[in-house]
Point group: C2
Chain length 220, copies 2
């Protein structure tokens, strides 16, 4: 399987799992930084290979075979991200592009050994679950948007919705890192912004930022 195929499957999977919906040609073109006509070309080929069900003018979804393969790519991507952060000391906002390349290395044994070396991690540095060898996702953490936090309760920042480097850099700048323990201090109904504290330092977050933070409730 080519790298291009990998990228298509991964992207269809990512778009498809937002909800059960089929991926649209234009959306794929945008995510893959290519043109809609190129996407149509490629989908035709993936369709012939039985990786995708593409119905003209109606959209695309993965077949069982395609989904299985997509999950293996996701697995590889997330394991490499974990490696880069935990072992090589990269920041969690620096690893995406490198993992994007590493995920295309073909060797099942490599991934198995890497998985073992990393101690079978369940979540990558962005908080996303890592499928196991069989393609099973670990149970999602019971999480919620930071907008739903309750006053005085304690939470851990476990994931982000927007993982663009702009956003991740912003988080870095305001010293919010994955794993941070957060307590909600106040909510401002006027603009839906919130005030939180991390290790007793206070931080004010706009609604836009808070909406992109996924937290998990902690017992104090």
């Amino acid at each position: 399987m080519s790298e291009s195929t990998d990228n298509y499957l991964k992207t269809i999977y990512a778009l498809g799992t937002v909800e059960g919906a089929a991926a649209t040609t234009t959306a794929l073109a945008e995510k893959l930084c290519t043109k809609a006509s190129s996407v149509t070309d490629m989908l035709k080929k993936l369709n012939e290979k039985g990786l995708v069900k593409h119905t003209k003018y109606y959209g695309t979804s993965l077949t069982a075979k395609g989904k299985k393969q997509a999950l293996q790519i996701v697995r590889k991507h997330r394991l490499w991200e974990f490696f880069l952060v935990e072992k090589l000391g990269f920041g969690w906002n620096e690893v995406h592009d490198i993992a994007e390349q590493l995920e295309h290395v073909e060797s099942e044994m490599l991934i198995d050994k890497l998985d073992a070396y990393l101690n079978y991690p369940k979540y990558d540095p962005h908080g996303d679950p890592i499928p196991n060898k069989l393609g099973n996702m670990p149970a999602m953490r019971k999480t919620t948007s930071a907008l739903n936090m309750k006053l005085g309760e304690c939470y851990e920042l476990v994931a982000v919705v927007d993982s663009s480097s702009q956003f991740l850099n912003h988080l870095k700048k305001i010293k919010l890192t994955l794993g941070s323990l957060i307590e909600l201090k106040s909510k401002f109904a006027f603009d839906n912004s919130i005030q939180i504290s991390i290790n007793s330092t206070k931080l004010h977050l706009s609604q836009q930022v808070a909406a992109n933070l996924i937290v998990q409730k902690k017992i104090k």
Copy 2:
């Protein structure tokens, strides 16, 4: 730079360093598992890019720019091999094909961090020197072919000449591993075979095998 370019430069370098000679089109075709005509095509392009000096019908050598790039690829390849063996527990005869893929990942920062993580190793698992960030090779170990060993002296197996998986598997079978401490017990002039001992177990090696072993003298 494409992966194909990487492979050409690396191969020209490998053929070129055997002696000062220029690489021949046929030799490149064989090493790269492709046809001579394809090699000619590619050399023309590399020539235009200033990576290679190709003179029609006379052979090919690297320019300074090409050599610099080739050394970076060699560096990446050998660092990854070291990682695979030391950290992930691969056998030193299993890593070549995987490193072949990993070496094409583009990120200077990745290689720097990997180098640091591995503690700046000087030799890869096959005993070959790893160029540093600037492309400098560490001083070659003072080594010799196993055929030149002296009776009663002690040596360490530090490298192999033939690194085909057939040969490496043979070594595995007879339990000869890189780093093994070897003492020469006897030489048989008749067929140039030798008898050695490793940790007091004795082993008989044909000339063919011995010629492919590179050893370094040790003080007992």
